[in-house]
């Protein structure tokens, strides 16, 4: 039976990094042409899981259009206890 006070601990979050106008330009994005009315502040870089596994995306937050999707680590953010073990 209920013995102690119940709490919900603070949750964990994924950070969404800012992207500069120069970085967008390097990705081939022309803001006026591709995202009229938007600025670099409307984009973020973060990891996602989708078809094909993990990717680091640079994504326009309002339309969810990715301007970059680079393949991420096989297991994403998971670190196995055997990672880094060198048996050679």
């Amino acid at each position: 039976m209920d013995a102690v006070e119940t709490s919900v601990p603070e949750g964990l979050s994924v950070a969404r990094d800012e992207v500069t106008a120069d970085e967008l330009k390097a990705l081939g994005v022309d803001l006026e042409r591709d995202f009229p009315g938007s600025s670099a502040a409307d984009f973020r870089r973060y990891p996602v899981l989708s078809e094909g596994g993990w990717f680091t995306v640079v994504k326009h937050q309002k339309t969810l259009r990715s301007v970059s999707r680079e393949r991420g680590p096989l297991l994403g953010p998971i670190v196995l206890t055997s990672d880094g073990l060198d048996v050679d």
């Binding site: 209920d2 119940t6 949750g11 899981l49």
Partner: protein
């Protein structure tokens, strides 16, 4: 982008290496192949979890240069399906595709690499044609035991991967179609019930050979280019279908929370999922930021299990008519921090009862999208598999174990626009069989005394949710029990489109000193008076009467981590009820009267929840019930004014 239907013949052939008809035939044939593999396993399995529960799934994946697209899945345990495309990719990439040769079988059961739990071993067979690796056939099948501190493993009280069971990193089980003895030894020196595991594994191996043979027959007939094209075609169909379904939803940001009661250490922490869904055009992003950290015991799920729950929820809600492949995720991005209770990490984030944590993921998607879906919203199900795991020894010394046969594993679904919900199924993420009572009783010292519906437990609605299931099981020998009802504090049977939530469930044990069925030669009643002397296992209960009271006290499922019972103890499971759809005041009085006749709803419940006034004796004279239409009109007006 041009729709698949709008491609002309030349474009189609260029894209998929075959004409449209051939690609369709091959895509269908791949679904036939995985189904045929499953039939072969079901018909020849020895252990109860495979034979009676259908706790396995088969898939076909494409080669590494295609990034392992999963082009077909069997009609079986959905909880496996979303994990298996990553399971194949992660296993083979770690093992090294260049190290594979014809005649291999590679295995992996690590929840962090391959999803699900350690008992669910992935058996992966590379398929070669003309010396070239062209595909993989995979069977994932639950092994009755995989070591750890709990026989058969089903427990929410194991604290880390070391207590949880044997973890198998990617390794060979067969080479040149011969068993790798070291791998078998590793399993059989760590697992219980190996006399059942060995023939099951041999059956699995034979069905991998069947899948390989059927693929090679297809390739011989249609050619490698057509086969590989059909893999791409099957996943492209799924991707387009999901995109089209997403485009039909209104754009917006939709949020919801869901959770489970606690973990297996104490009841001081509730675990909460926070979900923010952003939907724009034909794309969707699901962000789980803000979700509670991983639990201290084995109620956690892995990242790939959460991916499955998202896929199942979206297929269920918006794209149910087309086959599921890995392509269904193409327009969907999942944002999920590591180290939450739905994305646990080793070694402390033990993953075993993963469906208990990803069930709320699915319900959170249901809740979040309710307004976007409108009439298409679907009510919640009973939310927890309430799995019961018990073991003991027969008089002659033979050990016995029961897994997921005698708890509250089957229960109701939520209502939809189409009609009332079923009351006896498995949770939305499963797609399994119900173990036959005769099979249970022929192999175990257990007697299933009751399987019946609880009146007034359905979420009321124009279409009502399914009824909660009440199940009593008598254990004839001494036994140890692990009980895992993890969703009893709040309703999982979410009501939608104006429907009401289903009732709360609970679990009790009746010790033989209080109620003794063989001695009393009678079943234990279901009236409120019988619970005062029962021992609560889990639920929101009145502390005196020990009957269900949503405003009562929470009784904690692991207050006794292992329930030791003497002969003739009875466990009673009552599942949650399913959610209703639409306003109960819109349900026709005649349909409510039929529910009273069938004892889904009582006369009092009809008045309270539906505003329908009925007289008569539902049990003694069910066809003599009468509706008072004038009184019903008056009562419904009162309820509508509230």
């Amino acid at each position: 982008m041009t729709s698949l239907k709008d491609l002309d013949d030349a474009q189609f052939t260029e894209l998929y290496g075959a004409d449209r008809f051939t690609a369709s035939v091959l895509a269908s044939r791949m679904r036939y192949i995985v189904q045929h593999m499953c039939t072969g396993l079901l018909n020849n399995a020895f252990s109860l979890i495979l034979r009676d529960w259908y706790d396995f799934a088969a898939t076909i994946s494409g080669p590494p240069e295609q990034n392992y697209p999963m082009s077909s899945v069997s009609n079986s345990l959905a909880m496996f399906l979303g994990t298996m495309s990553e399971a194949v990719r992660n296993t083979i990439e770690e093992y090294g595709p260049e190290n594979l040769v014809p005649g291999d079988v590679v295995i992996c059961n690590d929840p962090y690499r391959a999803g699900n739990h350690v008992n669910d071993i992935c058996f992966i067979r590379p398929v070669f044609h003309g010396g070239k690796l062209i595909s993989f056939v995979t069977l994932r099948a639950h092994q009755l035991d995989m070591g750890g501190v709990v026989p058969a493993g089903f427990s929410g009280t194991k604290r880390n991967v070391y207590e949880n069971g044997l973890v198998i990193a990617p390794m060979l089980l067969y080479r040149d179609d011969k068993p790798v003895k070291a791998s078998f030894n590793l399993i059989f020196d760590n697992a219980r019930f190996c006399a059942l595991l060995l023939p099951d594994i041999k059956t699995i191996y034979q069905n991998l050979l069947l899948g390989e043979q059927l693929i090679l027959e297809s390739v011989e007939r249609y050619g490698t280019a057509a086969y590989l094209g059909a893999i791409r075609y099957a996943t492209d169909v799924s991707a387009e279908s999901m995109s089209t379904a997403l485009a039909a939803l209104p754009d917006g940001v939709y949020e919801a929370q869901e959770g489970i009661d606690c973990d297996g250490v104490d009841d001081s922490i509730e675990y909460r999922i926070k979900l923010k869904i952003t939907k724009a055009a034909d794309r969707m992003e699901l962000d789980f930021s803000g979700t509670s950290p991983q639990a201290r015991t084995s109620i956690n799920a892995g990242i790939l299990d959460t991916k499955t729950a998202v896929g199942v929820a979206l297929k269920f809600l918006i794209d149910p008519a087309t086959p599921f492949t890995s392509g269904a995720y193409r327009p969907i991005d999942i944002v999920l921090p590591a180290g939450t209770f739905i994305s646990a990490t080793p070694p402390d984030g033990a993953v075993f009862l993963y469906w208990e944590s990803t069930g709320p993921v699915l319900l959170a998607v249901f809740r979040a999208l309710e307004k976007a879906l409108g009439r298409k919203a679907v009510g919640g199900d009973y939310g927890s598999l309430n799995i019961h795991n018990a073991n003991g020894v027969l008089a002659d010394g033979t050990p016995w174990v029961t897994t997921a046969q005698c708890g509250g594993e089957h229960g109701p679904w939520g209502a939809t626009e189409a009609g009332d919900a079923d009351s006896y199924s498995v949770v939305y993420q499963a797609n399994n069989l119900d173990p036959a009572t005769e099979a249970v009783e022929s192999e175990l010292p257990a007697v299933v005394l009751r399987k019946e519906y609880a009146p007034d437990s359905c979420g009321a609605g124009e279409n009502r949710g399914g009824a909660a299931v009440l199940k009593d099981t008598l254990y004839l020998t001494e036994a140890e029990h692990w009980s895992s009802p993890l969703h009893t504090k709040s309703a999982s049977g979410v009501g939608v489109y104006g429907g009401q939530a289903g009732a709360l469930g609970a679990t009790w044990v009746f010790h033989p000193e209080y109620r003794n069925v063989p001695r009393d030669k009678d079943l234990i009643a279901t009236t409120p008076d019988v619970y005062a002397g029962a021992t609560p296992v889990a639920g929101m209960l009145d502390p005196e009467t020990r009957t269900i009271d949503p405003d009562g006290e929470y009784f904690y499922f692991a207050s006794t981590p292992v329930w030791h019972t003497k002969p003739n103890a009875v466990f009673r499971y009552l599942t949650n009820g399913g959610g209703g759809w639409g306003s109960p005041l819109q349900r026709s009085p005649e349909r409510v009267c039929r529910d009273v006749r069938d004892e889904y709803v009582t006369i009092e419940g009809a008045y309270r929840d539906y505003g329908v006034v009925i007289s008569g004796d539902p049990h003694g004279d069910p066809e003599g019930l009468k509706i008072d239409h004038d009184a019903t009109t008056k009562r419904r007006a009162e309820l509508a004014a509230r």
